[in-house]
C-alpha cells in the first residue's frame, strides 16, 4: 500500500488529492461553522440568543444558509463584464484555499513543506486584492467600484506592515520555512519577546481580511455592501466563504508566527498528550474568537484614520522594531545562521 502511494506516479497523484481533501474538508466545515459561531458569539455578547431554530442550538443554521444561497437566482448586471464578473469570486475563494498547502499542522506535516513558505503565504495573501478589485470593476456599479478601490488601498497599505513584522520574526528564526519557524519557538513563543509585533500583526490581519473595525470596503452606510453589491446566489456565497477562509488563514499565520504553531504551551506531560494538530486548531480557534470579539466591541474606523494608522503608526513602528531586534540579536550573538 505504501509502495503504491510513494513509488508510482498515479499513487503520488492520489496521495496529493487525499492530502488536499484532508485539509480542505475540515477547513470548509470550519468556515460553515465559523459563520454560525460568529452569530452565536456576537449574540451572546449583545445579550441575544442568535440562531436557535434549525436544529439544537441552531447547529443546522450553516446548512440552511448554504441551501438558501444555492437556490437563489444568479443575477448578472446588464453592463457587467461577464467573464471577469464570474471570475472574481472564484479567484477569491480559490486563493483562500491554496494558501493552506504550506501550513504545517505538525512537525513536517504540510502538503508542501517548501523552503520559502512565508514568502508563498505573503504572495498568496497579496493576491487577494485582485478578486476584490476585479469584482468592483466588473460589476459596472459605482458603489462596487468605490468599495473595491477602498479595499485594495487598505489591503496594500497593511501588507507593508505585515511584511515588516514577518521580517522581524524571520530575523529571529533564520529561515523562511514555516516548519523551522515553529521549531524555533520550542523554548518561548514569539508572542512574548515580540509582543508589540504580535499586536501589530493581529491588527493588520484584521485590516487585511476587511474585518471590523476596518470593514470600510463593506461600509453599508455609504456603499451599500461594497465590492460585492451586485453579487447574488453562488457567486456571493463564494465571496463569503473566501472571506471567512481568509480569516482562518490569517489566524493560522498568527498561530504559526507568534503562538508556536502545533507546539504545546509547555513541553511537559499533560500538554504533550494532546497531538500537535489539535493545538494548532485550538490556537486558530482562539484567534478567530478574538476576531469576532473585536467585531462585537469596536466601532468602525474612519477611512483617513485607517490610513493614518497603517502608514503613520504601524509602518514606522514595525520598521523601528525590525532594526531594534536585528541590533539586539546581533549584539547578544543570538542571530541564527551567524556569519555563514
Amino acid at each position: 500500500m505504501a509502495d503504491f502511494f510513494f513509488h508510482t506516479l498515479l499513487g503520488q497523484l492520489v496521495l496529493i488529492v487525499l492530502e488536499t481533501l484532508a485539509v480542505l474538508v475540515p477547513l470548509l466545515l470550519g468556515v460553515a461553522y465559523l459563520t454560525l459561531a460568529e452569530r452565536k458569539v456576537m449574540a451572546a455578547m449583545q445579550l441575544r440568543k442568535g440562531p436557535n431554530v434549525n436544529g439544537p442550538f441552531g447547529v443546522l443554521q450553516a446548512f440552511a444558509d448554504a441551501i438558501k444561497m444555492l437556490t437563489k437566482e444568479t443575477v448578472i448586471p446588464s453592463g457587467a463584464n461577464r467573464m471577469l464578473f464570474l471570475f472574481a469570486p472564484f479567484l477569491t475563494f480559490s486563493l483562500a484555499m491554496v494558501a493552506w498547502a504550506v501550513i504545517p499542522t505538525g512537525n513536517g506535516l504540510a502538503i508542501a513543506n517548501i523552503n520559502v513558505g512565508v514568502l508563498y503565504l505573503l504572495a498568496i495573501s497579496s493576491l487577494g486584492v485582485y478578486g476584490i478589485l476585479i469584482a468592483g470593476w466588473a460589476s459596472n456599479s459605482k458603489y462596487a467600484f468605490l468599495g473595491g478601490l477602498r479595499s485594495a488601498a487598505q489591503m496594500v497599505s497593511y501588507e507593508v506592515s505585515i511584511g515588516l513584522v514577518i521580517v522581524s520574526v524571520l530575523l529571529a528564526v533564520g529561515s523562511l520555512n514555516l516548519n523551522d519557524i515553529v521549531l524555533a519557538q520550542r523554548h518561548v513563543w514569539f508572542c512574548l519577546p515580540m509582543f508589540p509585533m504580535f499586536i501589530v500583526f493581529f491588527i493588520s490581519a484584521l485590516a487585511e481580511t476587511n474585518r471590523a473595525p476596518f470593514d470600510l470596503p463593506e461600509g453599508e452606510s455609504e456603499l451599500v455592501a461594497g465590492f460585492f453589491v451586485e453579487y447574488s446566489a453562488l457567486a456571493f456565497g463564494l465571496f463569503f466563504l473566501g472571506e471567512y477562509a481568509n480569516m482562518f488563514l490569517m489566524s493560522g499565520m498568527v498561530s504559526i508566527l507568534f503562538l508556536g504553531g502545533w507546539l504545546p504551551p509547555l513541553g511537559i506531560a499533560p500538554f504533550t498528550w494532546i497531538p500537535g494538530p489539535l493545538w494548532l486548531i485550538a490556537k486558530i480557534l482562539f484567534c478567530l474568537f478574538v476576531f469576532i470579539w473585536v467585531r462585537a466591541t469596536f466601532p468602525r474606523y474612519r477611512y483617513d484614520q485607517l490610513m493614518r494608522l497603517g502608514w503613520k503608526v504601524f509602518l514606522p513602528f514595525s520598521l523601528a522594531w525590525m532594526v531594534l531586534s536585528a541590533g539586539f540579536l546581533m549584539v547578544t550573538g543570538l542571530l541564527p545562521g551567524g556569519a555563514g
Binding site: L119, S126, V129, L133, S175
Partner: protein, 257 residues
C-alpha cells in the same frame, strides 16, 4: 519528461498572454494578461529551482506593481472609438520602434559571447543541497555586491522621495484633522454660556446661532492662533457669538430627544 511538459505549458501561456497584453482592446484586460504573464514567469523560475526569485516576482510585481497599474487603468475613462483613431496615427511610430528593437536584439544575439571565466563567476557561492537559494542570494548580494546593492537602494529612495515631492500639495482649503488641536480644546475656549431670556428668541444675538470660531478659518492648517486668525476672530466677534441656551431647569434638555 514531466518537467519539460510543465515548462512548455508555462512558456506557451507566457508568450500567449504577453501577446494578449499588446493585443487586448480593453486596457483592464491588458493588465490582467500582464499579471498572467508574471505568474507564468514565476512558474518558470520555480522549474529552474529559483524559488526565492519566483516568490519575489509574485509579491513585488503581481502583489504591488500590477495592483497600482490596475488602479490607474480602471479609473481611466476609456473611449474605444478614440483609441481606434489613435492606432492609425501611432502605428508607424510604433512600427519603427519595434523594428529598431528587433534589429538590436538580432545584433545582440548574433554576437553573443560567453565570458571565458564563466566557471569562476558562476560559483562565487558553492551550491549545495543543504543551502537554500535565499541564503545563497543573500551571500552574493551582501558580501560581493554590497555597494552596488546599496546604490540600487539609494536610487529607489530618490525615486520615492521624488514621487512624494511631485505629488504632495498642501492645499489651504483641505480640511485636515489636527488631533493635537482637538485635544487642546477645552470647554472654556470653545463654549460661551449665555443666558437667553425665555420667549424672546435669539434676535438679540444677531438672529442665529453659530460657533464662536468660524470653521473655515480654524480648519486651515497652521493658521490657528496666528495674527491673521486673531484678526478674523475679532471681526467675527463683532458680528456673532456662540449662543448656548441654558435651560432654566435641568430636565428641559430632555425635550429635544
Amino acid at each position: 519528461m514531466m518537467t519539460q511538459l510543465v515548462f512548455y505549458v508555462f512558456a506557451a501561456v507566457l508568450v500567449l498572454s504577453a501577446t494578449m497584453v499588446v493585443c487586448a482592446r480593453n486596457p483592464v484586460h491588458s493588465v490582467l494578461f500582464l499579471i498572467l504573464a508574471f505568474f507564468n514567469a514565476a512558474g518558470l523560475f520555480l522549474i529552474a529551482g529559483a524559488e526565492f526569485l519566483a516568490m519575489t516576482l509574485v509579491i513585488v510585481y503581481v502583489g504591488a506593481v500590477a495592483v497600482l497599474f490596475l488602479f490607474v487603468v480602471m479609473m481611466l475613462d476609456v473611449n474605444f472609438t478614440r483609441m481606434r483613431e489613435g492606432v492609425q496615427r501611432y502605428a508607424p511610430i510604433g512600427g519603427v520602434v519595434g523594428g529598431v528593437l528587433l534589429v538590436e536584439l538580432i545584433m545582440a544575439f548574433t554576437h553573443w559571447r560567453v565570458a571565458s571565466n564563466i566557471d569562476q563567476i558562476g560559483h562565487i557561492v558553492p551550491s549545495s543541497p543543504a543551502r537554500t537559494n535565499t541564503a545563497a542570494l543573500g551571500d552574493v548580494l551582501y558580501t560581493h555586491y554590497i555597494f552596488l546593492f546599496q546604490s540600487c537602494a539609494l536610487v529607489l529612495l530618490v525615486a520615492m522621495i521624488g514621487a512624494i515631492v511631485l505629488t504632495l500639495r498642501d492645499r489651504p482649503t483641505g480640511r485636515r484633522q489636527n488631533i493635537d488641536r482637538q485635544h487642546d480644546r477645552t470647554a472654556a475656549d470653545s463654549l460661551e454660556m449665555l443666558q437667553v431670556p425665555l420667549g424672546v428668541g435669539v434676535a438679540a444675538q444677531g438672529g442665529f446661532l453659530r460657533p464662536h470660531e468660524s470653521y473655515d478659518v480654524a480648519a486651515v492648517p497652521g493658521t490657528y492662533g496666528t495674527q491673521a486668525w486673531r484678526e478674523r476672530e475679532m471681526e467675527e466677534e463683532t458680528q456673532t457669538a456662540l449662543v448656548v441656551i441654558t435651560p432654566a431647569t435641568g430636565t428641559k434638555g430632555q425635550d429635544n430627544a
